[in-house]
Amino acid sequence: MHEKRTASFYLLAAFFALFVLFLYGPTITILILSFQGPQGGLTFPMRGLSLHWFAQLFRGIGVVDIGSAFWNSLRLGIIVMILTVVASVMAGLAFRRNFRGATLLFYTAIASLIVPSIVVSLGIALEFRIADGGVKAIGDAFQVEWIWDHFTTLMGLFTSGLGAHLTWTFPFGLLIMFAVFNRFNPAYEEAARDLGASPWQTFRHVVLPIIGPAIAGVALFGFTLSWDEIARSSQAMGSDNTLPITLRALTTTVTTPAIYALGTVTTAISLTVIGTVLTVVTVVQRRRRRHGSDAGKGV
């Protein structure tokens, strides 16, 4: 197996290195530029080193409320993550058996992944607009004063916005669960059942620990995809704003490194989540390898 490296190895290794530079170079550039001195501009040279632009960011830039966009995105991301994990694991379990509509659900998930986001976003916006009209019509028909006085729209961060994000995260969650359960050995569950475990105990003490790392993966996809989502959110958030939407608006109006500072903060949060998940998965798998099964060891 250990033959000499060929020329193609070095050529492709160089290509790979260039590709990694291409992937990370620009982001690293703005991470550096976000620490620009107060006199510095949008590009090099660096005029000093400071936290000036971060301070300005927290004071607020222009009319845009970055703080609320930040909290909106964070709350939405966490809720999307939880719902994606729960729904994907449940659906993953369901797909282990053949049920009526299984193929339809699978192809719907695939379709949800590849239908252009602008179409999904517009569809959800129209759906809620029509629903709003319906609610107002009911209010008029039955003379519901509450609707007259208080109702404006059903659209919002945790209704249409949440739904838009879930159509994007669920397919990834489902595909990951497919990959896991395809390699899952049902003998473990049979053994648990034979030993008298209830279905819930079997799930809690046998299935869940085995699919644990994959669940962490689904959580990672759930949070990061929601945290950075923009194409499906654009029409579906109503009057609420998320961080990526705010950021995009800022690209046309803000011409100071404050926008890079916002980029640095956002990326830092993404990287923290990615790092945490990857560490947890690695640690769990190492521990499992050390304390793993004693099968075949003649205990």
């Binding site: 703005i30 058996r97 719907t108 999904v120 995809l225």
Partner: protein, 292 residues
């Protein structure tokens, strides 16, 4: 695997099914329905008219071979599709090949594959913005070219141009090619390559006659991802094109902002039909079911 359906499967699948129904299937139906409605400046009204569709293609066929706005926009978007597809395919294939066949330790394979996917989990908008200090008029690239004396005045076409849109598309979407191709390649039996080699095939012959055909499912899946993303895009083209380049997605977005919902819906239906047509053509080219 158990083949008898139980009640458990139904309630387990229910949450996902309900969400897809509410936020994906119904919205698609609504789009099709609303595309036949009429509208004015303030509201949309249920109707059954075809004028939204005829408006989109107004004068398009009379004008041929000249291009009306709609055809020109579609052509522009299709050109982007073709360019991005070709670039991401070549880059993605090379990267996947390197990871599967040239990197020997499995740990290293996983680490390097992660290095390629981590940016996917960070913000696309930020990854686009981060090209500005590099490609701008006074950006790093222009500074370098000027100081090296290669150009005498800053290049203007680096940012907010066809070039920068293309660059950002490749930057953001190559991962969608790498992962499926990697997945296909990892399943290729190494002895097939040895057999090709022993039978006297050159490196290129092995690549073209063994590796490429066996990677086809991954190539097809990656292509579907890339093509559908570019076809419906309006964010990347908007930001990297300086809001100056037209795309089908952008047309829909603008019409939505002007509350011309039925017109936007009709455009969305046409876009969806085009995307489905492209996917259909791709699955004709490679029979995915047979390849799996």
């Amino acid at each position: 695997m158990n083949d008898t359906p139980t009640k458990a499967s139904y309630w387990q699948a229910a949450p996902m099914a309900v969400i897809f129904a509410l936020f994906f299937v119904v919205p698609l139906v609504v789009i099709v329905v609303v595309s036949f409605w009429s509208y004015n400046q303030y509201s949309i009204t249920p109707a059954f008219i075809l004028s939204n569709y005829t408006d989109i293609f107004h004068g398009c066929f009379a004008q041929l071979p000249g291009l009306c706005t709609t055809f020109a926009t579609y052509l522009q978007t299709l050109i982007f599709c073709a360019e991005v597809w070709a670039l991401t395919l070549v880059i993605g294939f090379a990267i996947a090949y390197f990871l599967v066949f040239e990197v020997r330790s499995q740990t290293m394979q996983i680490v390097l594959a992660l290095v390629c996917t981590i940016p996917f989990w960070t913000s696309n908008v930020i990854r686009m913005i981060s090209w500005i200090p590099l490609l701008g008029r006074n950006g790093l690239v222009n500074q370098m070219l000027l100081s090296l004396g290669i150009v005498h005045k800053p290049l203007e076409w680096l940012l907010y141009s066809h070039f920068s849109v293309l660059l950002a598309f490749v930057h953001l979407n190559t991962v969608f090619m790498i992962v499926p191709i990697l997945n296909s390649m990892a399943r290729i039996d190494r002895s097939l390559i040895e057999a090709a080699h022993d039978s006297g095939a050159s490196g290129w012959q092995t690549l073209w006659n063994v590796l490429v055909p066996l990677s086809k499912p991954g190539i097809a899946i990656g292509s579907i991802f890339v093509i559908t993303i570019v076809m419906g895009d309006y964010i990347t083209i908007g930001i990297m094109g300086g809001q100056q380049i037209a795309s089908v997605g952008k047309v829909i977005q603008v019409q939505t902002n002007f509350l011309q919902f039925p017109l936007a819906a009709a455009n969305a239906v046409v876009l969806l039909a085009c995307v489905l047509g492209l996917i259909w053509a791709l699955t004709r080219l490679v029979d995915i079911r047979k390849e799996l």
